[in-house]
């Protein structure tokens, strides 16, 4: 459990099958994985640039976590639902959330940014661990809807909830494990162990692996190379299939590394070395998939060009879209607090609107 994570695609880009985690490379569109990883990196790169230009207040970069996110996301069925943290830009991308909508939260134009009911992708959650319980509750709903274990692939569904290594220490996360285990819920906990919670190395949180935590609750924990998109995809597929089939929860640990500072506001030079970072850069998840694709002949001039064009368009879309994000209306906090605006709050709103108007 604390040993080497399962790896299918090594740093050199070689694929080796593993008896622990069955996976066939032709079971998925590998080029699509590659494309999505690159698009995720594009979103991240552009957002960092926008932050530097003062267009965003903050950005939590996902650099280095592309395999974990894209792998996990490609295991989802449309009917599955995702509960992210604040770093799942790659998953959002795969779910069809317009990446411009991810920017509003960090630009200060919204606290949300997209309609979570549209793409089965919930809002980002900033309170560490809180979303794990929402995931559990949603899974209780799926169970009550009878959408588990029917064998009908258009009906069965599951919840995929993301969390960080730091989140393992929050009481709420552990309550989520209790509930998921005791009620055998259709939920998969996907932990990107990027080895840092801001400045706290994983050793501050635990002396054993993330995956091992699941043992304490009596459900399955799996540890995979988080920079290996095949392993992340395979493990998530297996776990989601089990969840949909009524076999209960799984905790997946994708061992990876947060190569950028915690957010653009962080100064990681204070707590870790460049050498550590360099070592992980050498394990880059995109590089190794590119090598694999090249060696298998799946990458050619045409699709390289194609992806590059799409990347550029996406970058342009982000730059233009960010600046065009609408500012919230003066009345919006009042109108969105309750379904029915209470009298007193209406008075406060009117007071406020008059005040704003007078000032304009």
């Amino acid at each position: 459990m604390n040993g080497e994570p399962i790896s299918l695609l090594n740093a050199g880009g070689n694929f080796t099958s593993s008896p622990e985690l069955p996976f066939e490379t032709d079971s998925t569109d590998v080029l699509a994985l590659y494309n999505d990883m690159l698009m995720a990196r594009t979103v991240d790169t552009e957002a960092i640039a926008l932050q530097r230009q003062g267009e965003l207040g903050l950005w939590p970069s996902m650099l280095g976590q592309e395999a974990a996110q894209i792998g996990a996301a490609h295991a989802l069925n449309p009917r599955d639902i995702v509960f992210p943290t604040y770093r799942e830009h790659g998953v959002a991308w795969c779910r069809g959330v317009d990446p411009v909508d991810l920017l509003g939260l960090f630009r200060g134009t919204t606290l949300g940014g997209w309609n979570p009911t549209e793409n089965n992708f919930n809002l980002y959650t900033l309170v560490i661990g809180a979303q794990t319980l929402h995931a559990v509750g949603y899974a209780m709903g799926i169970l009550r809807d009878g959408d588990v274990g029917t064998g009908d692939p258009d009906r069965d569904r599951a919840v995929l909830v993301f969390l960080g290594d730091g989140a393992l220490s929050e009481g709420e996360t552990n309550e989520a494990f209790v509930w998921a285990a005791a009620q055998n819920l259709p939920v998969v906990f996907f932990c990107q162990n990027n080895q840092w919670a801001i400045s706290a190395p994983y050793s501050v949180q635990s002396r054993v692996s993330v995956a091992q935590r699941a043992q304490g609750y009596g459900f399955k924990g799996v540890r995979v190379d988080g920079n290996d998109v095949f392993a992340c995809l395979a493990a998530t597929r297996e776990a989601l299939a089990a969840a949909r089939a009524g076999q209960g929860p799984t905790l997946i640990e994708a061992l990876t590394y947060r190569r950028n500072p915690h957010t653009t506001s962080d100064d990681d030079g204070r707590y870790r070395t460049l050498a550590e970072n360099d070592a992980w850069a050498a394990l880059d998840p995109i590089d190794r998939l590119r090598t694999y694709l090249q060696s298998t002949g799946l990458l050619n001039d045409a699709n390289v060009e194609d992806i590059s064009r799409r990347g550029k368009a996406l970058a342009e879309h982000l730059r233009a879209g960010c600046r065009a994000l609408p500012f919230p209306g003066h009345a919006s906090p009042f109108q969105n607090t309750y379904a029915d605006l209470p009298d007193e709050l209406e008075r406060q709103m009117n007071e406020h609107l008059e005040f704003v108007e007078a000032g304009e």
């Binding site: 309170v127 709903g141 009481g171 969105n336 379904a339």
Partner: protein, 329 residues
Amino acid sequence: MTAVTSRMPIAHALNLGLRHAMEADEKVTLIGQDIGQLGGVFRVTDGLQKTFGDHRVVDSPLGEAGIVGSAIGLAMAGYRPVCEIQFDGFVFPAMNQIITQLAKYRHRSEGAVTLPVVIRIPVGGGIGAIEHHSESPEAYFAHTAGLKVVSPSNPQDAYDMMRLAIRSNDPVIFLEPKRNYWLKGDVSTSTTTPADLDKAVTVRKGTDLTLVTYGALVPVAMKAADVCQEEGRNIDVIDLRSLSPIDDKAVVASVQRTGRLVVAHEASRSAGLGAELAARIQDEAFHSLISPVIRVTGYDTPYPASRLEEEWLPGLDRILDGIDRSFTY
């Protein structure tokens, strides 16, 4: 279901309200500790698991964050969860889910997600209980934008307000006056519209002073008004019912007639509901006030050992004293 009227205690009226809400909408789902076979420590959910099954009346693990957090998830999945927190003093492990998630989600999602979650909490003292079983945490919730906070004082309201709370698309903290669970009254299940969930009700008309309270203190306030009546003082008694939003219009209208206001609650005084009422009324009815708004409340100490609770709690004598203070100011 045809409308009937019968006499029953608050606990049964709540039970009936839950039952009828569950019959009316199959998405209504109860979650809490010991609410199934045991029917809750106060038996408010008695028999409901038997009727509706353990998927709709869920005996939860011992974690309040889990109860509220999973209710949020259930609500996102289209359910209408009704949580039970076993006692007032045990809601605090759920505060993070209540304050940072439940109360804010609608605002965060710009109205795209509504969370129709009800959190039932037996509250208040006077039952000779041990620590954490006699508290009045309403101010924490009333200070939290995005929550509705209500408390019924009688069986009819218990029934009606439970159904209204469950029908509300906003999260509702539903405070049950535990020492009056066995207080009886007539309950009609008629569908003629009950008073809105967020409206105060004048439970006794008077002209000389306005006495505002809620929950378990309403009957005490009525008694105080009786005593005053004998002394020729005519008290207007308002049952607030909703603690957030507060129906201050009703209170202002009354104070404009009476010129005097006493507010009573069991919770500690500082930054409690009495403070909020005093602040609003001195503002909105400034020129009407003949004497200051008087607060008769629990003291700014932790709830004491139960042998002291009778004197610590604002009871009949202390309310009368407050009324006196107002008249003799």
